[in-house]
Symmetry: C2
Subunit: 223 residues, 2 copies
């Protein structure tokens, strides 16, 4: 009986992993990540670092060629500014969460669980982060004897960070930036969302941003 945590290397999945480890020993928890040709490949290194930190097994599945057409895959520019619906529509990847969950379920044995770190802040932008999506996917996965858990689906990102921080998640190892540079850019939608969420959670942000001030302006403009 293994809890398979979908680990992108970002704050949400890293928090979901730490949250899972608070109730399960490391031997019963495994992480799976996806190489889909994403522009921000730095997140795969972050996922590996997080898994190594916890001493759990980590598998990277090759999904190259099965997804297309998003700014995250180089089809267009990654939007800057606040993490709001209009702004982030270019980062939607058709079929992404379904395909990732399906590939993870294909690695699972009957009795295993799949854990995903989706949260309420993603609902307006990504339909495949909403509670109904995960409810029905859990019913689908039952055909394979697999339970799908989305423990943060009703939490805000700030609440996710507070939960992850409380569970001992190595948040300093995580990666959010969609630009894929050496440092977090501080200007893209996910960087702005990241900095704002740490601030709202009252947790010290361990991130070094190339532009560490932009987020306050973007949040003020986005509200």
């Amino acid at each position: 009986m293994t809890h398979i945590v979908v680990l992108s290397g970002g704050l949400d999945s890293t928090s979901a992993l730490a949250h899972t480890l608070t109730s399960k020993p490391p031997a019963e928890v495994a992480a799976v990540s996806f190489d889909y040709g994403q522009r921000h490949r730095r997140e795969l290194d972050a996922a590996a670092a997080v898994a190594a930190y916890h001493g759990i097994s980590h598998r990277v599945l090759d999904m190259t060629g099965l997804l297309s057409g998003s700014a995250l895959l180089g089809a267009s520019e990654v939007p800057e500014g606040h993490y709001a619906e209009d702004n982030m529509a270019a980062t939607v990847v058709q079929g992404r969460n379904l395909l990732f969950a399906a590939a993870a379920i294909a690695t699972a044995r009957p009795g295993d669980s799949l854990v995903v770190g989706v949260h309420a802040g993603d609902h307006p932008i990504y339909a495949d982060c909403r509670p109904g999506f995960w409810f029905h996917l859990n019913e689908v996965a039952a055909a394979y004897g697999v339970e799908v858990l989305a423990p943060f689906v009703e939490l805000t990102k700030a609440q996710v960070i507070a939960t992850g921080s409380g569970a001992g998640a190595p948040l300093s190892l995580t990666w959010s930036c969609y630009q894929g540079g050496e440092l977090h850019c501080g200007r893209c939608g996910t960087c702005v969302e990241r900095a704002e969420a740490f601030d709202l959670a009252g947790v010290v942000d361990p991130t070094t941003y190339q532009d560490s001030e932009f987020w306050r302006t973007a949040v003020a403009a986005g509200r």
Copy 2:
């Protein structure tokens, strides 16, 4: 608005494709097949031949390495005899229909439909062929603006053959045998099911089997 038909090259999906083409022009119908390292790779040639027969576009997605552990992938011997539950359990592939549907949905645009040829004869063996599975997957796919259609989900295989034959499906081009030889072996579970279903449908079976008599004995023994 494209109807994307999952085409394995077998009787069910070939019938589903012909059934779809009776209500849609070829330009609005496309086929997608999956290379998952299956032992019976001959079915991919059959799928290509069926798509070419109808003059529709056909895409083969590479799913190699994402599925494992079934007799269809060489993990054990393909069972002979009647297509019954105990006998065919070795041919279950964990996550298969979910992964295939997910990959097809990832190629779809909002407004497109996904068509699958699953039928009632597969329900006892394959949980991912049952109506509930496809009902919930349709709800999941709604997140991407895609409708999932399983027109044969309540039909027997004989009824599928009758429907496909009536819709002009090129059933002589299809491939069922799990052994992957030059001819249909006539002895594996799907060969027996194929021969029996043509007989029950009252449609002339165009197949040349290596062993053309075995199915009658196997059906008699399986009942």
